[in-house]
Every structure is written in structure tokens, then in C-alpha cells.
């Protein structure tokens, strides 16, 4: 198969893409920008709310109990003032002439019965009634609040976990287009907003249920006076709606200005070194001042409205009190209502305004959570997935590790074809280097092998099994991938090697670290394998990070190794350590390496040259050099340093002898056994000549 690339197939594939790419590639173009859009829906989306209820299902008993309790609590809390007005004022203190004419909801009867039954002082009975009501209300209220919180929290926990699960399984193509930040806020803030929605919904039910009771009671007392009192409701409503309308824009500007302010500061802090080196401190302070001033300006604007609204609202009740006093006073004189009723009216006024004012706030929460809900469901409904086989193939205990690519065509969604009719095969245990210019499709090949993207059946085979017939998770356990952008997590070194994989014991992790040369630097760290790493491994050098990534893959012991060699240059000493680690890593493993270094290429059995998505050359390093084709040119360009060096130094054999001599000179300790395993001691690269043989290496 090594000579699979015939000029003919190349020519064919050149003609092919336009007509076949749609069929070849399962992924279609998706509108990822939808994910980035600012969702500011103002419409009530009931279907979404209903859908949310599905997550509440397991906890419906708790939530229904809570709803029933809140109704009961509201009803009881309304009855309490009735005891005060009808019993205490109208019956005990200022007895009315014909009590039966006035509505009392059986409270007076209960009082009369208790009075006859206990023969206590009338006020004691009124007290007993109030205390009893209070106790019952309190207990029910506690039960209500706790059941609500528990139900709502669990509902949202489940939603959050489901959301996380769904995002965790989104394929690479998804994360190619969607920023982590956007996804993040869905899991954190948006779910939190929904929680606020639930609690504030129930809280407002807690305001509204009594509101309905209150209005009903007032109407049974006196129709006209109720209307007078209720006049403030439209006023409050108009004020609230107007205020919210005016403030929406101002609040938006405040939010914008705050986020600009924060972004500016964050970026300034991240680049503080550059700021100081460029002498930009004063300039940045004045830039920041401008943003700060804008923020202050918007805040001031908001204050003007807020203060007026606030004071209007608190005065509303006083206005209504005046009205009720005016008309109600006359009604009391004419004995249309009792004194206790007038008192009750005034007591109830507050309860009429509060829910209206709260409503404005509630709608705010509602709309915000609407948008949050939509974002969450958008993520949940995003059906982008790696295609899983219906009848997955069962893999043997241990794969041999043969890999074959057969006429592979591939294009990322919405872009040109990246790989064109790629065919090659690798024997078990063979090491293949892939070289090619940027954009030649090297990374795509290894991404496809790990099934990060979907592609057609019968194009890639592992041990003669079509990878599309293997469950992605099974496949990925067998193929160890080290990409250039491997991630170091915060946590201990051990955690980073084991990656919460229960099969990787501490011993195994240490074994792996030893094999890839990581053990030495890890041991030298203050807490060894328990050393806490910062996210992205900021407290490790680049080389150390690389070794850690190697150890991680080795610990998982995959049959096939896929590696994208780091491009950035590291100092020569570290580079050699990494080279050796790489060597150990690939022993007995089928390996595909995207190579950027000549040493790595020479380490491999064969070299595959990719050019513009096509396999152009395949063979050993020497063969390809002789061929004087693309590889030869690449070699000349990319490894110019070595080319010039060999010109300078001449005969490689002579050089070898020369180098041996020099090494011995540099390391007098090692004279007896020039190239022995322990000839250099722990002194590292230049320790001998530096005169300090005790320094730890490479940390």
C-alpha cells in the first residue's frame, strides 16, 4: 500500500470534489452565529415554560405541595387583620349597633363561640386567635419555602447536568465555531436565571393570591370604597410600566458601560507588562477615566428616574389612604360600614399596591429568564453529534494497530475540500511521519482518525474495521492523541496524568512519567506528583507541559498513537529530552506523527508528504530525498539550518568523531565511560563546564 498514490488517482480526485463533496461529507453548514446572537426576546414563550416543567416532573409532589401551601398561607394571612378589625375594634372596643349587617367570614362567630366556651377576657380570646393563626401560618410558610427551594434547586440541578452532558458530547466541529464563554454562561448564569424565575414566580404568587383575597374581601364590604382604594392600582401600573420602559434603555447602557469598564481593566491587567514597558500608564488611566465617566453619567441618569419612581410609589399608599379616609369617614358616619372595616381598608391598601409594583420586577425576571431559557434549550436542541454506529463493532482486548486510509475525501462544513482521495496504510507498530506545509491537511488526518468529525463509511480502517462502526468512545480509548493545543488542567500533576480515569493508578502514572522523562522534573517539584498546577500549566515550562501530555497518553496505554509535534522552539537541551520521550512513547505502538523536526522524521519508519490535501510522496527519508521531489524541497526550506550547517562542517563522519571528543572533554567525570548511561551525572547539559555539578536539570 505504500505506493498507493498514483498520479491517476490524484487527477481523478481533482475533478471529483465539486460533484461529490456534498455526498461525501455528512456535516452540513450550520448557522453558528445563532449561538452568538444576543437573545432578547420580549414575548412570552409558554411552550418553553411548559418544557421546563419536564425537568420538574420528578419533584412535582414537592412543588405542588408548595403551591397548595402558599395559597393556604395567603388566605390565613388575610384573615389575621380581620380578627383585628372586626373582633377587636368592632366587637370588643367600639361595639357596632347591628353587627350582623357586616361581613366577617365567620371570624366573629368563632370569637363568640370561644367566648362562651372559655369565658376568658374578650381581649385574651382575640390574642389567642391571633397567636394561633400566626403559628399555623409560620409553620406552613416554612414548609412552603423549603419545599419550593428544594424542588426548584433539584429541578435546575438536573437541567444543568443534562445541559452539561449535552455540551460535553458536542463534537469538535461545534467548538470550532462556538466560543467557550458563550457555552459557559448557559451552564452558569442562564440556569441561575431560571432559578430566579421559579423563586420569584412563587414569591409573586405569594403576593398575588392575597391580593385576590384582599380585593374580594373589600368588595364584599363596600363596593364604592373598594373602587376608591383600587384607583391607585392603575396608577401604580402605569408608573411601573412607564418606568420600566424608560429604564430599559438606560439599564442597557449601564450594563454596556460596566462591561466595557471591566473589559478594559481586565485587558490592562493581563498586559500590564506591556503597559508599563510602553509607558502607557497615564494614557490608560485617562482612557479608563473616560469609560468610568460614561458609566457615572448613565448611573446619574438612572438615578433621576429611580428616585422619582421610588418616591411616587411609596406615596401612593398615602394618597389612597387619604381617599379612603375621605369617603370612608362619611360611610362610617352613615353606618354603611363599621369603623373596623375602615381600619381594614386602610390596612389592605398596602397589599393592593405591593404586588403591582412587584409585577414590574417580576416581568423583568421573566423576560430575562425567557432569554436564558431559550439559550439553554438552543444548546440542548443543538443536534450536532458524531454519528454513532447502530451496531457497534466489538473490539478485541488488544488491537494490532494496523491503520488504513482508503480514498478519503473530506471537507469541513462550508469550506473547500481539505483532503482529496487520501490513501495509505500503516503496519502494526510502524511509525509514520506526516509532513507538509501549513494548510496541507495534516491535522485534519489525525482529527479524522480520532473521529472528531464525521465522514463517510469505509474510508478509514483500524485493524480492518471501519472506524465508523466503532463507538467513538471505544475508538478514542485505543487511539492516544496529543494535539498541539493539549490542555493542562488545574489540579495535581497526578490528576493531570490520570485525568479522572480510574484505571490509571498512581504507580501507573509514575511509570508513565519515568518512561517519558517527566519523572525527574516532577520529583524535583516541591510536592512531587501532588504539586498543584495552575490552569493551562502556567507554572510549568513548555517542555515540561509537553512531557506531561506524553505521560498522560502513555498512562492510558493506547494501541495507536497520534501526535502533532509542537512547532514552537524550545531550548536544545529540553528538545532532546522530548525527543527521547517521544521515542519511548512510540515503542511498540503504531504511531502517526505530524513532524516539524528533522530528528522526529528520522525516528520514523516512513514519511508521508501531504500537499494541498493530497498524498504526494510516501517512503523512507532517504528514498524521498533521493527522489528530489516535494520532500526534498521542504527539507531544504524548513531545515535550512541543518543544511547550511552540514555545508559548514563538511563530512558527517568526521563530525561525529569530533563531537565525541568534545563531549568527553566537556565531562571529565565521564572519561572512563564516555557514552555510558550515567556519564553526565545530574548536571544537565552544560553542568560540567559550568563547574556546578549539583544543579538540578531542566526545571
Amino acid at each position: 500500500m505504500s505506493e498507493a498514490v498514483s498520479t491517476q488517482s490524484v487527477a481523478e480526485s481533482r475533478d471529483a470534489p465539486e460533484t461529490t463533496s456534498d455526498d461525501d461529507v455528512r456535516t452540513e453548514m450550520r448557522n453558528y452565529s445563532a449561538f452568538d446572537q444576543e437573545l432578547t426576546h420580549r414575548a412570552l414563550n409558554l411552550r418553553m415554560l411548559m418544557r421546563l416543567l419536564r425537568w420538574a416532573k420528578p419533584y412535582k409532589l414537592t412543588l405542588i405541595t408548595s403551591s397548595i401551601l402558599i395559597t393556604l398561607v395567603s388566605a390565613l394571612s388575610v384573615l389575621m387583620p380581620i380578627v383585628h378589625s372586626r373582633v377587636v375594634i368592632d366587637t370588643i372596643l367600639v361595639p357596632v349597633h347591628a353587627p350582623a349587617r357586616f361581613q366577617d367570614f365567620g371570624v366573629v362567630d368563632a370569637y363568640q363561640w370561644l367566648l362562651a366556651f372559655t369565658e376568658w377576657h374578650p381581649l385574651t380570646i382575640a390574642l389567642a386567635m391571633s397567636v394561633a393563626m400566626f403559628l399555623i401560618t409560620s409553620l406552613m410558610s416554612i414548609a412552603q419555602q423549603l419545599s419550593l427551594t428544594s424542588g426548584a434547586l433539584k429541578t435546575l440541578r438536573d437541567l444543568r447536568v443534562d445541559l452539561f452532558t449535552s455540551l460535553e458530547r458536542k463534537p469538535a466541529s461545534f467548538y470550532d465555531h462556538v466560543g467557550v464563554g458563550r457555552v459557559m454562561t448557559r451552564i452558569t448564569n442562564d440556569v441561575e436565571n431560571l432559578f430566579n424565575l421559579i423563586t420569584s414566580f412563587v414569591q409573586h404568587t405569594g403576593d398575588f393570591v392575597p391580593f385576590i383575597f384582599v380585593v374580594a374581601i373589600c368588595f364584599t364590604f363596600d363596593f364604592e370604597l373598594t373602587l376608591v382604594g383600587m384607583m391607585i392600582i392603575p396608577l401604580a401600573a402605569i408608573a411601573t410600566v412607564t418606568f420600566r420602559w424608560v429604564m430599559r434603555e438606560i439599564f442597557r447602557r449601564i450594563r454596556d458601560s460596566v462591561s466595557q469598564l471591566n473589559q478594559y481593566m481586565q485587558e490592562d491587567l493581563m498586559g500590564i507588562e506591556v503597559v508599563q514597558l510602553s509607558g502607557r500608564e497615564e494614557y490608560n488611566i485617562s482612557e479608563y477615566r473616560k469609560l468610568n465617566q460614561e458609566n457615572r453619567r448613565q448611573e446619574f441618569r438612572a438615578i433621576n428616574w429611580e428616585v422619582i419612581y421610588e418616591s411616587f410609589n411609596t406615596s401612593l399608599t398615602s394618597f389612597a389612604s387619604a381617599g379612603v379616609l375621605w369617603f370612608g369617614g362619611g360611610k362610617v358616619v352613615q353606618e354603611e360600614i363599621s369603623l373596623g372595616m375602615l381600619y381594614l381598608f386602610m390596612e389592605f391598601l398596602n397589599r393592593m399596591v405591593a404586588p403591582i409594583m412587584g409585577l414590574g420586577y417580576f416581568f423583568n425576571v421573566l423576560f430575562r429568564s425567557m432569554a436564558s431559557g431559550e439559550r439553554i434549550f438552543q444548546a440542548l436542541d443543538w443536534d450536532e453529534q458524531i454519528h454513532e454506529p447502530e451496531k457497534p463493532a466489538t473490539l478485541p482486548e488488544r488491537l494490532n494497530g494496523a491503520v488504513e486510509f482508503k480514498n478519503l475525501n473530506f471537507a469541513y462544513a462550508g469550506s473547500d475540500q481539505i483532503l482529496k482521495d487520501v490513501s495509505f496504510s500503516i503496519e502494526p507498530g510502524e511509525k509514520l511521519a506526516i509532513v507538509g506545509a501549513t494548510g496541507s491537511g495534516k491535522s485534519t488526518i489525525i482529527r479524522l482518525l480520532a473521529r472528531s468529525y464525521d465522514f463517510d463509511d469505509n474510508m478509514i480502517f483500524v485493524d480492518d474495521i471501519d472506524v465508523n462502526q466503532i463507538r467513538t468512545n471505544d475508538l478514542r480509548r485505543r487511539i492516544g492523541v496529543v494535539m498541539q493545543d493539549f490542555h493542562i488542567f488545574s489540579g495535581t500533576i497526578l490528576d493531570n496524568i490520570a485525568l479522572s480515569n480510574p484505571n490509571v493508578s498512581r504507580e501507573r502514572a509514575i511509570w508513565a512519567s519515568r518512561l517519558v522523562n517527566a519523572h525527574r522534573f516532577i520529583e524535583a517539584l516541591p510536592n512531587g506528583y501532588e504539586t498543584e498546577l495552575a490552569e493551562r500549566g502556567h507554572n510549568l515550562s513548555q517542555g515540561q507541559q509537553q512531557l506531561l501530555a506524553f505521560a498522560r497518553v502513555l498512562a492510558a496505554d493506547p494501541e495507536i498513537l497520534v501526535l502533532d509535534e509542537a512547532t514552537s522552539s524550545i531550548d536544545t537541551g529540553t528538545e532532546l529530552v522530548i525527543q527521547e520521550a517521544l521515542h519511548n512513547l512510540t515503542i511498540g505502538r503504531t504511531s502517526i506523527i505530524i513532524a516539524h523536526r528533522l530528528q522526529t522524521i528520522q525516528e520514523c519508519d516512513r514519511v508521508l508528504v501531504l500537499h494541498q490535501g493530497e498524498v504526494r510522496e510516501l517512503g523512507t527519508h532517504e528514498e524521498l530525498l533521493e527522489k528530489q521531489g516535494i520532500y526534498y524541497t521542504l527539507h531544504q526550506l524548513q531545515f535550512q539550518d541543518s543544511a547550511t550547517a552540514s555545508q559548514l562542517t563538511g563530512d558527517p563522519d568526521e563530525m561525529e568523531a569530533e563531537r565525541r571528543r568534545r563531549w568527553v572533554e566537556m565531562n571529565p567525570d565521564a572519561e572512563s565511560e564516555p557514552f555510558g548511561n550515567d556519564s553526565m551525572g545530574g548536571s544537565g547539559f552544560i553542568g560540567g563546564s559550568g563547574g556546578s555539578g549539583t544543579r538540578p536539570t531542566g526545571v
Binding site: H84, I92, L93, L127, S130, S141, L146, V161, E168, M184, I254, N262, M265, E267, L269, I272, E273, Q276, L277, R280, E281, N284, I285, F300, I303, Y309, S318, A322, L325, W326, G329, L339, M357, A450, R476, V481, M483, H487, L499, S500, N501, N517, S569, I570, T574, L576, E580, L637, S642, R659, R662, N677, M680, G681, F685, I686, G690, T694, R695, G698
Partner: protein
């Protein structure tokens, strides 16, 4: 995040700066002993003392009017209950209306001024915070990470603002309301007043104690949320790695645990708060019950009228509302005090590098730089990073520094621009101690291009002209071309105006490095320090850039750090550093002659075409892996 007095419009925006988890955990348990920190805010508040005094007077007046309102009800009810008097409730109604309108007129401007004041204080604090941070040195930024500083600037300043905006106004309102209500109550019935007021301090005390108790619950809840947030963030950042290693299921389990732990903490906090509210409302119920029984008896005895009875209830409602909210105000103060402490922890740390008393230094710099016996140890470390380093850069020359990672090369360069606390009498610019120059002048004369390529979220042009945004386009193009950025710019849709960085297009590592190089080159300063600025640039481009540099920097001094001999050999003089000391120095040819580190490095780097066997041997020498090496080290030291 807004939270107005009308019910608040904002949620806690935690998670935005969720990075500072550990700082949250380390945050001292808030308690009342922190309240003293609030005194630090006085200078900020006193700036506005006149507004403050007028406002306090207005608020006092407003509370008086509010407290007078139940008096109208008292008269109306007394008249209504008294068969001998013809009640004219419209009069009281009008009185109520007028009082309300007057109170609005008094209240609105005063409240507005107070709220403006709190915004101004926030503004001042924020401005000072930002300004202060700009001049801090590296050990400050080691101590306070970006996330931590952001959390202080955002969350803590917000807390202070809440306290300044609402907290102490609430306190004032509390005091005035109590005084006014109690005086009116006393005027109606001293006996009943006494009976009613006695249980109130109890309410306040319990509220106070319990509000203090709620804080740990609340904080635990926030910490758990921060855990969920940071877990999620990290997981998503590393999603490719997780998927490649097929670890999704384990991660989902961990997320489940983390979310469950969060809702548990949340539930606990709610439970505490629910019970607390119940206790407090039970205690507050005592007073109305006293009015009901004792007040009722007084009415029956004819000592007070039914109007007084109802007015008492109204005053009580006022008092109870205040007393129960005082716990909340105090909690706010506690939070603000902790926030203040955290803000001032930053504001009170002095910059490490300051301009010393002026010594006469030349204004026209020729560009010679000398390090004499420079020894430096980073704070809180045990090993000298530099020991006795001597480097001499003559004006107009180029010097290269080589050495392994961690050998102290970057520290040398940092010392020259005082990015570390450079000791006196060790580094000299044109023969004068660099500590005698102002930091500003020093950093204008010496440009350091740091190793870590950082670009701001701004256009390429703004990034390159970062030191002076007024530079014209031809200068920018010249610098960009010299840095080898020409081709990269052609690829960008909007050329120089393309926005790059975190919130723009991500450039490749090499492009970033070249852009930062251009940022340094454009300044054309007398001395240029390049800290390994070609590591992500391929060799050919590097050659081109260096060729360009040689013409552009002709007659000016340059120090460059490199790992490549091919780069270093262009320098007039080369120093090799190891473990903080110079181990070799000389010109390229001299060093090759010497057969030392440099010569070996040249061999290794230039000869990559070795046989596998050869390489292995080389490797063994360079990086011994077997444990027997450690033994050997031990024996060689003894």
C-alpha cells in the same frame, strides 16, 4: 448590577470572575471586627460633606413628615368613634395629602443627591484602584492575580457602593424613624409606649445575631457556585483533550457532584434564612399583641381613644419595618467592610519601583549599558537567580545572551528596565546608575520586547503604536515590515485596522511575536532588548528580520536573547549564562574556538542529520534519565 431601593433589578453576577476561587476561600471570615475598615472610606465620603449635611437634614425632615401621618388617622378615628363629635374626615384626608406632597418635594432632591454621591464615591474608588494598579511591580501581580484584582474591582467595589448608597441611609432612616415614632407614641400614651417598645431591642438583637450567622452560609453557597463555574470553564477549555482521552463520562459525574454540592449549600442557606425570618417575625409579633391586649384594655378603660389605638398600630408597623431591616443593613455593612478591607489591601501596597530623589542624569542617552556584579534573588525564593553578572553593551553594538531556560537571561533584561526591583549601583546607563533615572525616562530609552507575546483586543495598528497612539501610518508600516509582518498583514482583511487579540482575530504564535516585535521597533529607542522574540518564527523569517534589524538598528544598541546560534552569531559579542552566572563570553569565532557550551550548541543545532545511534548517545549525555544519576550527583558533591 443594579439593585435599586424599589426591589432591585439585578442578580449576583458571580461566575464572571469565578477564577478567584481560592481567593474567595482565603477571604477572611467576615465578622463585625471588620467594620473598622469602613473608616478608610471616610476621606472619600468627606469630600462631599456639604451635600451630605444638607441631605441628612432633608431626610430628617422627611422622616418627621412620615411620622406625622398616623396623627391624621388618629384624629379621624377618634372623631368617628366619638358620638358627641361630628366627624369631618375630609379635613384629615386633605392634611394627609398635603403632608405626602410636601414629603415628596423634600425627599426627591435629597435622595437624588445622596445616590449621586454614592455613585461618585464608587467612581473615585474605581479610578484610584485602576490608577494605583498601573504602577505596581511584578511581586504585586504575583500576589494578586488578574482574576483576583478583577473580583476586587468589580464585586468588592459594588458591595461598598451598596453600603454607601443604601446601608447608611437605612441606618439614618432607622434612627430618625425610631426617634420620631417614639416621641409621637409618648405624646399619646407613655404607658402603652413603654410596654410596646420594650420587646423591640430584642428583635434588633436577634436580627443582628442571626444576620451575622447567615453570612457563612451565604459565602459557602457562593463558593460552591464558584466551584461549579470554574469546573465548567476549565472543562470546556480542555474539551478537546477530554474528548480525545474519552473522559466525558467521568467529567459528567464530577460535574454532577459539584452541582449537587452547590444545591446542598444553597438549600442550607435558604433553610437558615427561612428559620431566621420566622424567629424574627415571631419576636416582632410580640409588640402588636401587647397593643392588642394592653392597648385594648386602655381603650376599654377610656384612657386612650380608638384613634390612638389604631395610630399605635401604624407606628408599630413603621418601627418593626425598620428594626427588621436593620439586620439587613448591618449585614450589608459587614460585607462592605470586608470588601473595603480587600480594596485597601490593594490600594495600600506601595509600588515596588519608585523614582528616587533626583540625581542629575543626562537627557541625551548614547546607549551604553553595563551590568556590574549584578546579583538578584526574587522575593520569597532561596536561590540567587543572578549572581555576579557582568555584561557590557557599548553604544551602537549588539550583544547576544544565550543559555538554558531558567538561567536568568530574562531577569538580566528585566533588571535593565527595572521590571524587577533592581538594586542600586549594579546597572549603569551611560555611566549613571539606572536607579537615578526616572522610570519613565528609563523605559523610554530602553525598550524591552518581552518573551510572552501579548496583544490587546485592538487593531494591529493600535497594538503597534501602543506607546504613542499618534504615530502615523508610514511609521507603523515601516516597523511592521521590519518585523516581518508584511505578509501576515496582507492576509488580514482589514490590514492594519484588523482587530486582533482576545476579542478579535487570533493570530498565529509567530505573527503575534512579530507584532510585538514591531511594537518595540517602532519606538526606535537607543537601546532595544529582545527577549527570545523569534522562538515562534521560522528560521528563514528570522534571518530576514535580523537582516532588517541590522540596518534599522545601525548605530543603536541591542541585546537579544536567543536559543539559536544562528541568531546569536550576528551579535558583536556573546554571553552564555548558566544558573545565573556568565560562563562564556566572546565573539562568535572566539567562542567557537573555545570549544565550550556555545561551540557544542552550535554542533548540536547545526547537525541534525545524525544517525539514530549517534543521537541516542548524545541524548544520554545531555539528559540522563536513570536514577543512578542522582546517586552520582550526590557523590560528586560530597
Amino acid at each position: 448590577m443594579r439593585s435599586g431601593g424599589f426591589g432591585g433589578g439585578g442578580g449576583y453576577s458571580s461566575g464572571r470572575w469565578g477564577g478567584g476561587v481560592s481567593s474567595r476561600i482565603n477571604r477572611e471570615r467576615s465578622s463585625y471586627k471588620h467594620l473598622g475598615h469602613l473608616a478608610k472610606l471616610f476621606p472619600y465620603i468627606l469630600k462631599y460633606k456639604w451635600i451630605l449635611i444638607i441631605c441628612i437634614a432633608a431626610i430628617l425632615c422627611h422622616r418627621g413628615l412620615m411620622a406625622y401621618m398616623p396623627q391624621f388617622m388618629k384624629v379621624a378615628f377618634n372623631d368617628l368613634a366619638n358620638p358627641n363629635v361630628e366627624a369631618e374626615t375630609y379635613k384629615q384626608a386633605i392634611g394627609l395629602l398635603v403632608t405626602t406632597i410636601v414629603s415628596i418635594i423634600v425627599y426627591v432632591p435629597a435622595r437624588r443627591a445622596l445616590r449621586r454621591l454614592s455613585i461618585s464615591i464608587t467612581y473615585d474608588l474605581r479610578q484610584r484602584f485602576f490608577s494605583h494598579v498601573q504602577y505596581q511591580g511584578p511581586s504585586f501581580f504575583n500576589k494578586f492575580g488578574t482574576g483576583d484584582l478583577m473580583s476586587r474591582a468589580v464585586n468588592d467595589i459594588n458591595m461598598v457602593r451598596m453600603a454607601v448608597s443604601f446601608g447608611w441611609v437605612n441606618l439614618m432612616v432607622f434612627v430618625f424613624t425610631v426617634i420620631a415614632s417614639i416621641s409621637f407614641m409618648l405624646s399619646m400614651s407613655p404607658k402603652l409606649t413603654l410596654a410596646v417598645v420594650i420587646p423591640l431591642p430584642l428583635v434588633g438583637l436577634v436580627g443582628f445575631l442571626m444576620a451575622r450567622g447567615v453570612y457563612p452560609y451565604y459565602r459557602e453557597r457562593q463558593e460552591a457556585l464558584a466551584d461549579v463555574t470554574s469546573f465548567t470553564q476549565e472543562n470546556l477549555n480542555g474539551i478537546r483533550t477530554i474528548q480525545a482521552m474519552a473522559q466525558e463520562e467521568n467529567e459528567i459525574e464530577r460535574f454532577k457532584d459539584s452541582s449537587t454540592s452547590y444545591i446542598k449549600k444553597f438549600y442550607r442557606a435558604t433553610r437558615y434564612q427561612t428559620f431566621m425570618n420566622t424567629y424574627i417575625s415571631a419576636l416582632t409579633m410580640i409588640a402588636p399583641m401587647i397593643i392588642l391586649v394592653y392597648g385594648g384594655m386602655l381603650v376599654m378603660d377610656g384612657e386612650i381613644g380608638i384613634g390612638d389605638f389604631t395610630a399605635f398600630s401604624a407606628y408599630l408597623t413603621m418601627l418593626v419595618g425598620q428594626v427588621s431591616s436593620i439586620g439587613f443593613s448591618l449585614a450589608m455593612f459587614v460585607a462592605a467592610a470586608a470588601g473595603t478591607a480587600r480594596i485597601f489591601e490593594v490600594l495600600e501596597s506601595d509600588p515596588e519601583v519608585t523614582d528616587d530623589a533626583e540625581t542629575a542624569v543626562p537627557q541625551n542617552i548614547e546607549g551604553s549599558l553595563e551590568f556590574r556584579e549584578l546579583t538578584y534573588r526574587y522575593p520569597e525564593t532561596t536561590i540567587d537567580t543572578l549572581s555576579g553578572v557582568n555584561i557590557k553593551l557599548e553604544a551602537g553594538k549588539t550583544v547576544a545572551l544565550l543559555g538554558r531556560i531558567g538561567s536568568g537571561k530574562s531577569t538580566v533584561l528585566k533588571a535593565a528596565v527595572r521590571m524587577i526591583d533592581t538594586p542600586r549601583n549594579h546597572v549603569f546607563l551611560d555611566g549613571h546608575d539606572i536607579c537615578d533615572y526616572s522610570v519613565k525616562q528609563l523605559r523610554e530609552t530602553i525598550t524591552l520586547v518581552p518573551q510572552h507575546a501579548f496583544l490587546f483586543s485592538a487593531s494591529v495598528k493600535e497594538n503597534i503604536t501602543y506607546d504613542n497612539p499618534k504615530r502615523d501610518e508610514s511609521e507603523v508600516m515601516h516597523a511592521a515590515n521590519s518585523a516581518g509582518l508584511e505578509e501576515a498583514l496582507q492576509d488580514l482583511a482589514q490590514g492594519l485596522d484588523t482587530v486582533v487579540g482576545e476579542r478579535g482575530i487570533t493570530l498565529s504564535g509567530g505573527q503575534k511575536q512579530r507584532a510585538t516585535l514591531a511594537r518595540g521597533l517602532i519606538r526606535e529607542s537607543e537601546i532595544l532588548l529582545l527577549d527570545d522574540c523569534f522562538s515562534s518564527v521560522d528560521t528563514r523569517t528570522e534571518e530576514l528580520i535580523i537582516d532588517g534589524l541590522q540596518t534599522m538598528r545601525a548605530g543603536k544598541s541591542t541585546i537579544l536573547i536567543s536559543h539559536r546560534v544562528s541568531t546569536a552569531r550576528h551579535a558583536d559579542y556573546i554571553y552564555v549564562l548558566d544558573a545565573g552566572s556568565i560562563i562564556e563570553a566572546g565573539t562568535h569565532d572566539e567562542l567557537l574556538e573555545k570549544d565550550g557550551y556555545y561551540a557544542n550548541l552550535e554542533k548540536v543545532q547545526s547537525n541534525q542529520e545524525q544517525t539514530a545511534q549517534e543521537k541516542e548517545k548524545l541524548l544520554e549525555q545531555l539528559n540522563p534519565t536513570s536514577d543512578s544519576n542522582d546517586v552520582q550527583v550526590a557523590s560528586s558533591t560530597t
